[in-house]
Symmetry: C2
Subunit: 224 residues, 2 copies
DNA sequence: TAGATTGTTAATCGATTAACAATC
DNA sequence: TAGATTGTTAATCGATTAACAATC
C-alpha cells in the first residue's frame, strides 16, 4: 500500500487560532442544517419571503427554540419581531454547509443499489454531481450508465482526474475495507457508506452510514 | 428509606408483562439491538460460542458499558466472568425485536430506488420478505420484477390479501401523504419512508425516515 | 481460590426545551 | 408605542461512560 499523501497541512499545530476559539457545533445541528436548507428551498419556490422559527419548526417537526439555537451557532440571521429572510438564510446555510458550489461525487460499486443511486434525482437537486463510477466489471455496465464507469484498477488516478470530493460506497462487504483504504490514501475525506459494516478510517475522514437492514429491523420492534 | 427492591429477575422468563411497570426503552437502544443481532450472526457463522461486552463493543464501535446496559434492559443474558452465549443471545434479541418470524413487506413505488430495494439482498437475509409491490403503472413493470406488482388502485385489498406487516415507501413526494393515509387506514403500523418529507400519521404508527439527500449534504460540511 | 466479566449505580456529557430580556 | 419574535441563558431531559460490588 502506498504512503498517504498530502494531509491537510498543520495550521492547527500549536497556533490554536480558529478552531479553539469557536464553539463546537454538535453533529445533530449539522444534520438539521440541511433540513432547514431544503425547507427554505420549498418556501422560496412558493415565493414566501420570511419565516419564523415557529413556522420552520412546524414544517420539520422541531421545537422553535431548537431552530433559533441551531441558527444562532453561526451568526445572527434573524430579525426580532420579524423572523428570518428566506432567500438570504438559505444562501447562508448553503455557504456554511459548503454546498453553495458543485460537489463532485464518485460512486463505487455499480450493483442494484449503486445504479439506483446514480439515477436518483435527489442528489443532483441539492448540487451533488455523480461524476463517475467504478466497478470490478466496468465493461458490462458502461453502456447502461449515463456516467462513465471505470475499472476499480484505475481508482486512484481517476479520483484525481475527476477531482472527486466525496465517495458513495455500494460494494460487497468483502471489498469495502480495501477500497476504503485506497480512496483515503487518494485523499478522499468524506464517504457515504451503504455497506453494512464499520469502516476503519483515520480521524480526519468522515463517514456517514446508511444501514438499510438496521432501519427495517428496528422498525419491526414497534409492530407489536 | 424502604426495603431493597432489586431482585434476581427469575420471573422475567415468563410472558411479557404490562407496559406500565416496565422501564421505557430508549429508541437508540432498539436501533443498537439490531446491530447486536447482526454482529452475533457473524460470530455464529464463525462458530464463536461466547462473546464479552468488550468484544461486542469493539466490533461495533461501542463502549462495553453501553453494550451491557442495553442488554440488561431486557433481562440477564450474560454470565459474570464468562460473557454472553452467542447463539442464545441472538435468539433472544430476535425475539425482542420480533424478527424471529418472517416479516411481510410491501413496497410502494417501483422506480429506480424501489427496484433496487426489491433486488437488495440485505432485507431477506434478516428475515424480511418483500411480498408484493405497487405502482401507478404496474403493467410496464410486472415483467421485470420477481414479485407481483399491483396497481395502487388495489392497495387496500392487496395489503390485506398478502397480510402485509410493514410498508416501504419510495414514491414521488406529491403522492406520499395520500398513499400514507390509505395504508394507515388499511391497518399498517410501520413505514420505512424514503420520501424526503414528513408524513402525518397517528401516534400509534411508527415511521422511520431514510433521507439520502440529507445524509450527503450534511457530509459535505466536513469536507473543509 | 484467583481471574474475569457481568449488572447496576453514580457521574458525566450532550442535546432539547422553557423562559424572557432585548430589539425590531 | 404595541406586538412580535429573536438570541441566549437556565432548566430539563436523555444518553453515554466510569466505577465497582456481585458472582460465575
Amino acid at each position: 500500500m502506498a504512503a498517504p499523501k498530502k494531509l491537510p497541512s498543520s495550521k492547527e499545530a500549536g497556533t490554536g487560532d480558529s478552531s479553539s476559539s469557536e464553539r463546537k457545533i454538535p453533529k445533530a445541528v449539522i444534520k438539521r442544517l440541511s433540513l432547514y436548507s431544503r425547507a427554505l428551498q420549498t418556501l422560496e419556490r412558493d415565493k414566501v419571503e420570511k419565516v419564523s422559527s415557529t413556522e420552520l419548526g412546524e414544517m420539520l417537526g422541531l421545537n422553535s427554540a431548537q431552530v433559533r439555537k441551531d441558527l444562532a451557532y453561526f451568526g445572527q440571521f434573524g430579525v426580532p419581531g420579524f423572523g428570518y429572510p428566506v432567500g438570504e438564510l438559505r444562501e447562508k446555510i448553503k455557504a456554511i454547509l459548503g454546498t453553495n458550489r458543485e460537489i463532485r461525487v464518485a460512486l463505487i460499486g455499480v450493483g442494484h443499489l449503486g445504479t439506483a443511486l446514480m439515477a436518483y434525482g435527489g442528489f443532483g437537486r441539492q448540487g451533488f454531481l455523480i461524476t463517475c463510477a467504478f466497478d470490478v466489471a466496468p465493461e458490462k455496465l458502461s453502456g447502461e450508465s449515463r456516467v462513465p464507469v471505470h475499472s476499480t484498477d484505475e481508482l486512484e488516478q481517476r479520483l484525481d482526474e475527476y477531482e472527486i470530493d466525496l465517495v458513495i460506497l455500494t460494494v460487497p462487504a468483502e471489498s469495502a475495507q480495501g477500497l476504503t483504504n485506497r480512496i483515503v490514501n487518494a485523499g478522499i475525506k468524506a464517504i457515504l457508506n451503504f455497506v453494512p459494516m464499520r469502516l476503519q478510517v483515520p480521524d480526519y475522514v468522515k463517514v456517514h452510514y446508511v444501514d438499510l437492514a438496521i432501519e427495517i429491523e428496528s422498525l419491526s420492534y414497534y409492530l407489536k
